[in-house]
Point group: C2
Chain length 351, copies 2
């Protein structure tokens, strides 16, 4: 199903997932159609809009939420900018985040102009994250912005517990969770999807869940945001979260994403968790593993040498794809339902 697995022990879906044959077939077929029939006209546009709605539904199902609460984006970072810019915060406001976040979230947080409080959880046991994040909250906190699964440590953060405890607006970076572990976004405020990672879609594709779309300003309108507009740019937004749709996605990529979403088996989460646990146990025999047991599908571990980037490069030469985490000496292996025992053996052998 995933041809790259025949050549490479591909343990890097946390960066970008493997592509299925049917996904690339759909893209190629779509581009051939574009080549011969052109990229315009009512039937072409109608098919594009219909594909967007089917994908909106499929991605909503990944989060267990209604399609009308989901916007189509092209990355988690885009979703984060939509939310944080739409909140119109200023220097008197505060955002609480953590020190295990990706720049896709942090850049938006910084651009808000709000004061940013960073909970230090990276070098603490996962069980201490809840209290460390709570300690950052003040009466001026307007937003909690954090990931569901940390791209660095691989730990699951207690997002639902934090929401229940604080009731504060919460933006969740779902880049390392959706497609990797079961996700239920209901009860949260905003939740992002990176469809090119664990969902194995073409890049750049993604989505943004918004519990209450009408409550957020549209800071970055696109042609997809509006149903009608006036010459001064004032406009009637589309109903629901579609008003935050972030821009054109080429129809071949839409077809590829639809194909990608259709191939995942019902046992994907159990199998991925099992392989991640096995990967962790094997690595723990020889390395200092950062990721505690029982979290998600990323396994980070300390590289004993000086240069983790060089180690990742050497592994790739031996057809094992993992990544280093800049600014640390950590390496990270990503396990999916597609990961085999042989992939793990090859990882251990090559290190």
């Amino acid at each position: 199903m995933y041809p790259v697995l025949e050549r490479i022990a591909y343990l890097n879906a946390g960066s970008v997932g493997p592509l299925a044959q049917v996904t690339v077939d759909a893209i190629v077929e779509g581009r051939r159609r574009d080549l011969e029939e052109g990229r315009s006209g009512r039937p072409y546009l109608d098919a594009m809009f219909a594909a967007r709605e089917r994908i909106r539904g499929a991605l909503a199902a990944e989060l267990g939420v209604p399609p009308e609460n989901v916007a189509l984006t092209r990355s988690t970072g885009e979703g984060c900018n939509v939310v944080v810019a739409g909140l119109r915060l200023g220097p008197a406001d505060e955002i609480v985040t953590t020190d295990v976040e990706h720049f896709g979230l942090l850049g938006a947080v910084h651009a808000s102009g709000a004061r940013v409080r960073v909970a230090a959880i990276r070098v603490r046991p996962a069980g201490e994250a809840f209290d460390a994040i709570l300690a950052g909250i003040t009466p001026r906190t307007r937003l909690l912005a954090l990931s569901h699964v940390a791209w660095t440590s691989g730990h699951v953060l207690p997002i639902h517990e934090l929401k229940a405890e604080t009731g504060l607006p919460m933006l969740v970076d779902g880049a390392q969770s959706v497609g990797a572990i079961p996700v239920a976004a209901a009860g949260l405020d905003w939740y992002t999807i990176s469809a090119q990672k664990w969902l194995c879609g073409p890049e750049p594709t993604g989505a943004l869940y918004a519990a209450d779309p009408e409550a957020l300003a549209i800071a970055q309108p696109t042609y997809f945001s509006q149903r009608a507009y006036k010459p001064d740019g004032s406009f009637t937004p589309k109903d629901g979260a579609a008003r935050f749709d972030s821009g054109w996605i080429d129809p071949p990529s839409l077809a590829g994403l639809e194909a990608a979403l259709a191939v995942h088996p019902p046992w994907r989460f159990e199998r991925a968790a099992e392989m991640a646990a096995r990967c962790r146990a094997l690595l723990a025999e020889r390395f200092d593993v950062v990721t505690e047991p029982g979290h998600a599908t990323l396994v980070s571990f300390r590289w004993p040498g000086d240069d983790a980037a060089e180690a990742a490069g050497r592994a790739l030469e031996r057809r094992v794809a993992i990544r280093d985490l800049p600014g640390t000496r950590w390496l990270r292996a990503s396990c999916g339902y597609w990961t085999s025992d042989e992939d793990l053996e090859r990882l251990l052998t090559c290190l």
Copy 2:
């Protein structure tokens, strides 16, 4: 070179351009590589960054500006949002625009929160645009935001003359100019490119020229914006306009865009102007043509019937691709260097 032309009189590059065989070949080749080799690792990323820099250079050349003043975006609308949000305007500020603009520009203008003054030029002779736009300027004007070639009327707006006269910051929507007519962005402040139209690139691709990148706030940071960042999201921007690079473009699309940019012949502008003039003359024999002679490569004309959208649909059924302009009874034909006399004959025959 453009297979769609063998099947369709494709007169709709103002929406999306025809794709060259080499462009689609490059995309397909890239996706096959992704399928078999995976989408990660240092060599993969290095090649992606190198392709971005080559394309930055090629798109800068289209505007006659240095590459360090060009950001890679995925649409004109994205570029407009980058600029207008970065200016941090408020209700005490004013933006002057016109009534021939696309929502890609207008949406950003509206979202700024500034007061918007709309110069009425759509139903006036093109020669009156200069005075009509000047009349909208007040001491509170912080930005002129307008297109180089109006997507509706097809008229060239006097952007350089307006800049010389007013000295005001100017954002130019270049969606209907770059690749269609010669463009020199030097002397202007911001200028957008839609690479999927007249440059015949894959969508969504584009660029933004910024004369003074350091002077504009980074309102929507992306991973490409920064050279280094801290846990609170504060970051060291990349040098030059690359700080406004708007997000991931898949390497197959980068390869496709590079191929697309390489096929345009040196005589493209002269030939496109010649075909547009011929198209205009033929249409004027039977229709009330909106676009005055001697403008760009769009020719808009009044459809004598009630339903221009239906007329465009019927034309496509007869393998002639033109478009209607919503809210008017206008139809629009787009002529490129690839347009043949036979295409124009088929247009006239089918109407």
